[in-house]
């Protein structure tokens, strides 16, 4: 045994699970939905830090089951306050998951500081970033987009079939694993989800596909 592993990293039970006590990043149009998906799968209080000027707010009735009761919103005024609040929340050992939406691009220093805070507090963090505004210190970086359920030739008209709840979540950067693309069928109500195979037809009843 020449080298001791720097830190113990348990193998993720699911490809979509975030490594514990690390900071991750998610970008793309569906990043907030990805954050809610992760929130539903993390027990304990949730802290969502978003700039005060940002108009988007979570709506309790549309959130996954049990998330609204555990959710704490923090709305700092500036970018510095936002990073400070994120670092404090990560370090405090109080929350199950800390979600932050920095408005500006993250510097390597800021990303590294958040990573150290997450390790000190044994808390998982998820930063929702704009395109290309991430930092290299992140553990994983996800690109998230909602996908339509495209009509197929067999269906009578384009609008037929159930509503789409498909998401394309691709892992673009991973410090301790491989990349991958997953199409996920998640309806936003519970922690349960469905991984859709490449062909896309398997998750639907035989009749609808035919």
């Amino acid at each position: 045994m020449l080298l001791k592993p720097l830190r113990h990293r348990p193998a993720a039970d699911s490809p979509l699970a975030l490594a514990h006590a690390r900071v991750h990043e998610a970008g793309g149009h569906g990043r907030r939905i990805f954050a809610l998906f992760q929130a539903a799968r993390h027990p304990g209080p949730l802290i969502w830090i978003l700039p005060a000027h940002q108009p988007e707010r979570p709506m309790p009735r549309g959130l996954p089951e049990g998330v609204a009761d555990r959710l704490h919103l923090v709305t700092p005024r500036g970018g510095t306050d936002l990073l400070w609040a994120t670092e404090e929340a990560l370090r405090a050992r109080a929350a199950g998951l800390v979600i932050a939406e920095p408005a500006e691009a993250l510097s390597l220093t800021a990303g590294r500081r958040l990573q150290l805070a997450a390790e000190a507090g044994r808390t998982t963090g998820l930063l929702l970033i704009r395109e290309g505004a991430g930092s290299n210190a992140t553990e994983t970086r996800w690109s998230c987009a909602p996908r339509p359920r495209l009509p197929r030739p067999g269906l009578p008209h384009p609008g037929a079939g159930p509503d789409s709840t498909l998401h394309l979540w691709s892992l673009n950067k991973n410090k301790s694993g491989t990349f991958g693309d997953w199409t996920v069928d998640w309806n936003g109500a519970s922690a349960a989800f469905h991984l859709v195979s490449e062909a896309g037809e398997r998750c639907e009843p035989q009749g609808a596909a035919g």
Binding site: R61, L73, V74, A85, S164, G188
Partner: protein
């Protein structure tokens, strides 16, 4: 007499509602002021004060002199008052409400004799029954045998009579002073280092928290005043997310504020006070769950709130409204004491709601002649093609609120799935034709 009767007799009558809270406050202030006449002063009823002036009167030139002085000062304050001085508390009470004056020492029975029996603090029924027997004045009661009186009117009458005459003791007990949560420390030499201030603060916190624990209270707001050598005062104020009296955890919250204080030529006095406290029952250490997650979260909320402001650390609470914007409240987490609402009874399935909501944004249909819903629209500089639309769900404005956002009238909400991916919550306003996007589904 009812107000209507009084108005009929005197049409020019001016009336005002009684402000009981204000009156009680003024009486409490007067009670403090009356401490200049006697060590023991207490409120009596809603409109009276009683003071034990035993051994005090000679300082004001006798009892009559004291009473004159009292009235002169009250007159200058603009207060009309009646007062009486007597040997016993009961006699003073009776005389103050029926003429006022001074009953000299040992003269109680003679002084009370002419007063009506109602002055004895007995209930009105007893007073009326005594009146029917022709016993209208206290003097009529005094020569009567006590046993038949007690048999007929109960022991209350005899007790009050004895108290008025001094046969039963009735001391004046002042109200206990409300606990004061403030401690101070004066230093022989000025200090300037942050660590020194924190050490002084730790000593103050130990004393303050002990006092809080004695009264079963916890602080919600704490103010540390640092008196500098040049007589300037610096103030550090912190708020707490929930009542607390743990010195170590409170001291950690002060660290940032103390760091910013300008010590000048040195600090030679510290004063710590808790202007806002709440009841906090003592807890047994053994019964606590081993994980202190709640404490950690409260500490985090305190720390975030003290830098960002407590109105920026928020929680979501459901509200009774069908209007999407008002269907939930965003309340400060520090003042959110209500327990989580009970789970709703299972009813008909509610229409879906988006996970994220934002102020309505204009969506321009691609072709204005489209039927409902449009086949495509532009939103946030993107062209979106509608793949499926579910709806409409009609929501009418709450007419009892004048909400500028709802001036456009009814809204027909659609869940629109686009070929480009986003699943949006879109509404159409039929009364002022137009499309807006207000939310996004998972």
């Amino acid at each position: 007499m009812t107000l209507a009767n009084a108005r009929a007799i005197c049409p020019a009558l001016e009336t005002r509602p009684a402000d009981l809270r204000h009156e009680a406050g003024v009486l409490a202030a007067l009670c403090r002021w009356a401490g200049r006449y006697a060590p023991l002063v207490a409120a009596e009823g809603a409109d009276g004060l009683i003071a034990d002036i035993t051994g005090v009167a000679h300082l004001f030139g006798g009892e009559a002199g004291l009473r004159t002085d009292l009235h002169a000062r009250l007159d200058r304050m603009g207060l009309a008052a009646h007062s009486a001085i007597a040997d016993t508390r009961g006699a003073a009470h009776a005389l103050a409400r029926h003429g006022g004056g001074v009953i000299g020492p040992g003269d109680t029975a003679r002084g009370l004799a002419r007063l009506p029996v109602a002055a004895l603090r007995i209930d009105p029924d007893t007073a009326a029954a005594l009146g029917r027997l022709g016993l209208g004045r206290i003097g009529d009661l005094l020569p009567l045998p006590r046993a038949p009186l007690a048999r007929r009117f109960g022991p209350g009458l005899i007790l009050r009579l004895d108290q008025a005459l001094g046969a039963q003791p009735e001391p004046v007990a002042a109200d206990p002073a409300p606990p004061h949560f403030g401690v101070r420390i004066t230093l022989p030499e000025p200090i300037g280092l942050q660590a020194d201030v924190m050490a002084g603060l730790a000593r103050l916190l130990d004393r303050l928290c002990a006092r809080l624990a004695l009264h079963h209270r916890g602080a919600r707001r704490l103010v540390l005043e640092l008196r500098r050598v040049d007589r300037a005062t610096a103030q550090v104020e912190i708020g707490l997310a929930r009542p607390m009296r743990d010195p170590a955890r409170i001291a950690a919250l002060f660290a940032r504020g103390v760091d910013e204080v300008d010590a000048g030529f040195g600090i030679d006095g510290l004063r710590l006070s808790a202007p806002l406290t709440e009841p906090l029952a003592p807890e047994q250490a053994e019964t606590r769950p081993p994980d202190r997650g709640g404490d950690a979260l409260a500490d985090l909320v305190s720390r975030l709130g003290n830098r960002l402001g407590f109105d920026r650390v928020l929680r979501l609470r459901p509200a009774e409204s069908l209007i999407p914007e008002r269907s939930f409240l965003i309340v400060p987490a520090a003042h959110d004491d209500a327990p989580a609402p009970p789970a709703e009874a299972p009813g008909p399935p509610l229409p879906p709601r988006p996970a994220v909501i934002f102020p309505p944004e204009e969506a321009t249909p691609l072709s204005p002649a489209d039927p409902l819903p449009p086949s495509g629209f532009r939103w946030r500089r993107r062209t979106l093609t509608v793949l499926r639309a579910t709806g409409p769900e009609r929501i009418a404005p709450e007419w009892w609120f004048d909400d500028p956002a709802w001036r456009s009238g009814l809204r027909d909400y659609w869940r629109v799935e686009t070929r480009e991916g986003p699943r949006l919550w879109v509404y159409h306003t039929p009364q002022a034709p137009g499309w807006r996007v207000q939310g996004e589904f998972a």
